[in-house]
């Protein structure tokens, strides 16, 4: 039953909802805007970040006692960069088309503030197992939002999900297109990603009043 202690499971579950890196801490927005026009790209991005953060947190946590604090940022960057290059090479080897679609954004995982943030805030001061859980948890929280946003943007913007035309064919006017429905081109533009993230934040905060700041 108790695979994880209560404290440990909190590390994974907290970032999924009440301490979500995107909707609560508002970090990692750039990639959430850039690659969520398609669900597939969102999923691949999420998996990549889960890998980078899980492994990265382990490595930093293992090295935490031997990193001189003055150069810790550089060490962290080297670790992320190495992991990102691994992800990039794997994608290029096994799914070249996808790696072309994601373009620079896989490389830009390095600049994702969530990753550096967790290295600094958690992995530098905690044991390996807990750091791993924290990394996975935060990456999952990031991925969940990415997938939600990607789902709505692809469904409403292109009428497809993972590339399958679930709403019918817009050119042959089949499915819902036969009754006059049309794809919402605004959904494919970056501002709409920001608005969708905003709506998620809105829904989350009105469901959990504890998140609303006093002012």
């Amino acid at each position: 039953m108790a695979l994880l202690s209560k404290k440990d499971s909190k590390l994974i579950l907290d970032p999924l909802a009440d301490n979500n890196p995107i909707t609560i801490q508002v970090l990692g927005i750039c990639s959430a805007l850039a690659i969520t026009a398609q669900l597939k790209a969102s999923i691949v991005m999420s998996i990549s970040v889960i890998f980078v953060m899980g492994v990265g947190n382990i490595v930093i946590s293992l090295m935490r006692n031997i990193i001189p604090s003055k150069i810790r940022i550089i060490v962290q960057l080297v670790v992320v960069a190495t992991l990102v290059i691994i992800v990039d090479q794997v994608l290029k080897a096994f799914s070249y088309q996808l790696s072309k679609e994601l373009g620079a954004f896989i490389g830009l995982i390095i600049t994702n503030c969530i990753i550096m943030g967790r290295f600094e805030a958690f992995a530098l001061g905690n044991g390996v197992w807990r750091s791993f859980l924290d990394g996975i948890g935060n990456a999952l929280g990031y991925g969940v939002i990415l997938i939600i946003v990607g789902f709505f943007r692809e469904l409403l913007g292109s009428g497809t999900l993972l590339g399958f035309p679930v709403l019918g064919d817009p050119i042959a006017k089949s499915g819902v297109y036969s009754i006059g429905y049309e794809n919402n081109g605004f959904m494919l533009l970056a501002p709409m990603a920001l608005i969708v993230v905003g709506i998620i934040i809105w829904v989350q905060r009105s469901r959990n009043k504890a998140l609303i700041e006093e002012n």
């Binding site: 049309e182 919402n184 605004f186 905003g198």
Partner: protein, 407 residues
């Protein structure tokens, strides 16, 4: 017992309950409110916000009626059933057939705009336990006037929900919004469904259907409902003379074609002190200034006839006010008291930049044939900044004066 008493009784009955704002809203919309401002130094408290809104609606009604006739006129003109109207009072234009055709197309748009928008307002008022806010009264009338006549109604409904919720309610409702809600709705439509908001098919009713028939193999003539701006952006000729543009006998969004009626509406707004004359005048100056600059560039021969900007740049500078939605935007949208600058000097800057940027976008971005929407939205965002610097400047000036006096 009259409707007023009934409403009042309902109000008393539901006082403090969830539905109270709904009855209150209907009551104060139809009649003078029982209570006006209680506190503060509101000397002119006899009118509430609904009166202000109603005044703007009165100024919009001529545009709407003209828009209805024009929708029918453009349709019959394009299908070749009537000949071109000779002047503003021409019987070809003010005919019953035009009116019924136009009303058939335009009234559903008005109804959808109001029903959807007010439904959102009522839902939010009931959830928040606020009074129903008046802001949508004007927005609901503006929206039908700035969309093409053939816009599918469900798209309009989606856009209205988006515009009212994201453009206004999330910021706290009427008076708190950063962007003009009517233009937010139009911008949403423009970016979400560009095929229904631009091009040469949507501005005249019937052109889309006709194009579909032709695609289906029917042997009929295509209808071209290109707007003047659309023609200019593609360096194409058009056969509307300057009086057609002034009277508004041209294709375009439903209510924005007639510069004459917009002028009357604008004077009405200035006369009733609802709209700011500073914004209107400075926006016109801004548009003329940019137009003159472009004319000057053409006169200097810096730009050749082959350039894709040539037609728009060489358009007489004052024609810019007659074509497209510039005049409508300046009079009814830029003067929105919530989203415009609040300070007098700020209003001059704000208006001038709206005119200036509108004409710039018009000329340099053929993908956005009408720049006034984007220009106003952009300046809405900058209005608080302008006010801030105007205020700071004033404070600095007065502090200096104080120093001189005391020294």
């Amino acid at each position: 017992m009259g409707l007023k008493q009934n409403l009042h009784k309902l109000k008393e009955k539901y006082k403090g309950k969830k539905m109270a704002p709904a009855f209150n809203a209907i009551h104060t919309f139809l009649y003078l409110p029982n209570e006006t401002t209680h506190n503060g130094t509101h000397v002119k408290g006899a009118d509430d916000l609904k009166r202000t809104m109603n005044t703007v609606i009165m100024a919009l009604v001529p545009c709407l009626i003209f828009g209805i006739f024009n929708a029918g006129y453009q349709h019959y003109l394009a299908t070749g059933e009537i000949s071109k109207a000779a002047g503003f009072l021409s019987p070809e234009f003010w005919s019953m057939a035009n009116f019924s055709m136009g009303a058939w197309k335009v009234l559903p748009i008005v109804v959808v705009s109001y029903v959807v928008g007010l439904a959102v307002e009522f839902i939010f008022a009931v959830i928040k336990g606020h009074e129903v806010e008046e802001g949508y009264l004007v927005t609901g009338m503006l929206v039908p006037l700035i969309v093409p006549v053939d816009i599918p109604l469900w798209m309009l409904a989606v856009a209205v929900i988006f515009g009212v919720v994201i453009g206004k309610e999330v910021f706290g409702g009427t008076g708190m919004n950063i962007l003009n809600p009517a233009l937010t709705i139009r911008a949403f439509l423009f970016f979400a469904y560009p095929t229904w908001m631009s091009g040469d098919k949507v501005w005249v009713h019937g052109a889309v259907e006709r194009a579909n028939e032709i695609a289906g193999g029917a042997n009929v003539d295509a209808i071209s409902g290109e707007t003047i701006l659309g023609s200019l952006a593609q360096n194409k000729a058009f056969d509307y003379d300057i009086m057609d543009m002034f009277y508004g006998l041209i294709p375009g969004s439903i209510g924005e074609t007639s510069t004459l009626l917009i002028l009357i509406g604008g004077l009405f707004l200035i006369f009733t002190k609802i709209g700011s004359w500073r914004i209107m005048v400075s926006a016109i100056i801004g548009a003329l200034a940019m137009g003159l600059i472009f004319n000057g560039v053409v006169d200097q021969g810096w730009i050749g006839e082959g350039s894709k900007f040539f037609s728009l740049m060489s358009t007489e500078f004052w024609h810019h006010l007659l074509i497209g939605g510039l005049a409508f935007g300046i009079v009814y949208m830029a003067t929105d008291p919530v989203t415009a600058s609040q300070t007098n000097r700020g209003k001059w800057i704000y208006g001038f930049l709206i005119g200036f940027i509108s004409v710039t976008i018009r000329v340099f971005n053929p993908a956005y044939p009408e720049g006034v929407m984007l220009a106003i939205l952009l300046m809405n965002v900058f209005a608080p900044t302008i006010d801030h610097y105007v205020l700071q400047g004033n404070i600095k000036r007065r502090a200096k004066r104080l120093k001189v006096k005391t020294a």
